[in-house]
Amino acid sequence: MDREEMAAQAKKRGIRITAGIFICLLVGFTLAGNTLQSLTLPKVYTVETSKGELVHAYQGTSVVYPSEVKELANPAGWKVEKVLVKKGEMVQKGQTLVEYNDSETKGQLQEQYSALKKQQMSMEGLEHNYKLAYISEDESAKQSAKLAIEAAKLDIADQKRRIERLESEASEHRRLSAPFDGLVLEVLAEEGFGGSGSPDVRLSNAARGFQAEFIIPQSLSELLLEGEELEITVDGEHSRTITGRLAEWSAINSSIGESAGGIDSAGGGQNAQTRAIKLLLDDQELRGGERVSLNLNRSKTSDSVLVPNEAIRKDLEGAYVYTLNEQQGPLGNAYYVVRVPIIIADANDTTTAVNSGLFAKQRVIISSSEPVVDGVRVRY
């Protein structure tokens, strides 16, 4: 075999190998095509729908505060002599709360008493004049002395009334007393200081009870009735359950705040609409400031198909979900996305109740590695 022929043989062998590889490659891709293709399909994640009750749940805490609060001011602006109550103390109607320094008024009274005494003494002088005029039978002198006595009598009566008024004022302004049975919420008065314009004592009215405010989701508030009695728990060492009457609810609020201490622990949607509700609490042991918690579970629909909110999609034609359609083939099963229109009955933060379009135990797509549309083949 000469060199040329060997080179030709080598070339032919090379081509045979190349052709073999080429054919094997194509055969391989043909047979493994379905598997390879399915690897490039968008991966979808599904959940199974279930049948049941859609519960609107709320769990939150708030702080009890009195329904009526009265701010009691220093009546005359006198200096505070003695503070007789402390914050958190229960007081009876008429009980003295703060005593004030009345030394100034006492001085004034003393002066007024001295003036009265002077008037009474001058009265004696006038009576004596009258007696002399009577003895001397001087008619004109008698007349003028009589008039002077009358005038002095009027002066004395005036002075007595002035003293009376001052005395009653002094006794009234000397102390601050409770206008009703209640709880001292705050004591602002300080011994030795005069009135500063702010109230000296803040007192809650025990007869009007207490209240607590909670911020609950709008969807849940629709399921509550005014006047409905709700059970709330007073937290603390000896936690107990009391009832609160739903008194009023505020307008719909789009943002979740923390007003009135209501902390929405239900979490969920940040943009969920909320409402503040006020519960009236009638309980003898409440003092105000207690931490109370509310647990609410309400449902509107009893037997509907439940789907996670992530699975619900919406467009101009309405709400729909994507389910999977399984098609059996010779090289394995193929899954296709199917759009199913639904009618939403109710929804909470996490779950939606569907009235029509879905059955229980159906797989719905909640997310996918790439956006999918109706009819697309996917990997599941």
């Binding site: 070339k11 081509i15 052709a19 080429f22 194509l26 891709f29 043909t30 095509g33 390879l36």
Partner: protein, 295 residues
Amino acid sequence: MQVRKRWVWLPRLALSLWLGSLAILMLVPILLTVTNSLMTEREIGLNYGLLGQMVDTASGGKDAFVNLKILPDWLSLEQYRHVLVLAPKFLRMFWNSAAMVLPIIVGQVAVAALAAYAFAKLRFFGRDKLFLVYLMTMLMPFQVTLVPNYMVIDWLGLMNSEAAIILPGIFGAFGVFMLRQFMAHIPFAYTEAAKMDGAGQWTIFLRIILPLAKPGLAALVVLLFVDYWNMIEQPIIFLQEAARQPLSLYLSYIDKEARGVAFAASVLYMTPMVLLFLYAESYFVEGVQLSGIKG
């Protein structure tokens, strides 16, 4: 003499340059196809994005040059992935082609070799006239025989089946013509000598003629493969069902949006032809030379 000898290489160089540049010119499209098949779809779009918009400058088309880029910015097998993995159609059509072309080649070579032997080496009445009639069918273009072909295939109930392509292919006249020309060059002395030794026609055909006609057979295989691998009209007319169509129609499915995969598809499409040609190259050249047919 000295001067003559010194300049004798000049015409040789000129010829080499001329032929070399011609070869490069011929190879550029293939080179372009192979290198562009390694570009990403995005790069293809950037280079050939103008192609669809240049149809008619009068009606808003652009008057510009298309950027022919030889080297890709970034080597990528993305196009091959698209063709081989994401589009099962390509492979389906590839095997369709193979399933049609292989029976045609085997059948036509078998039929043509026997017929050519008869026309070249047997003496019988009206041989040359019959051969002329046979040749006539070859001389007529496909379009002329289209209607009768269609009617016959419809009558045979072969419409929309591979047999509608394979059967007319097997009985094509080209193979007979080419092998007859080739066998005519085999001296009668070989067959005479075999006859003297008591060999029958079958023995002469199988033992003497076929081995000698090997280059011709190889050339025929290559030419038939190229011819039927590239067929367009027959499958378009006889195979309506897309799942049965051969690979030669695949490129027509590639539209403007999918031009990114056209190069890879083209490379895979021409690979069997190139491999076959390289394998049978020496026979092919010899066969074509001896039969006096230019491919």
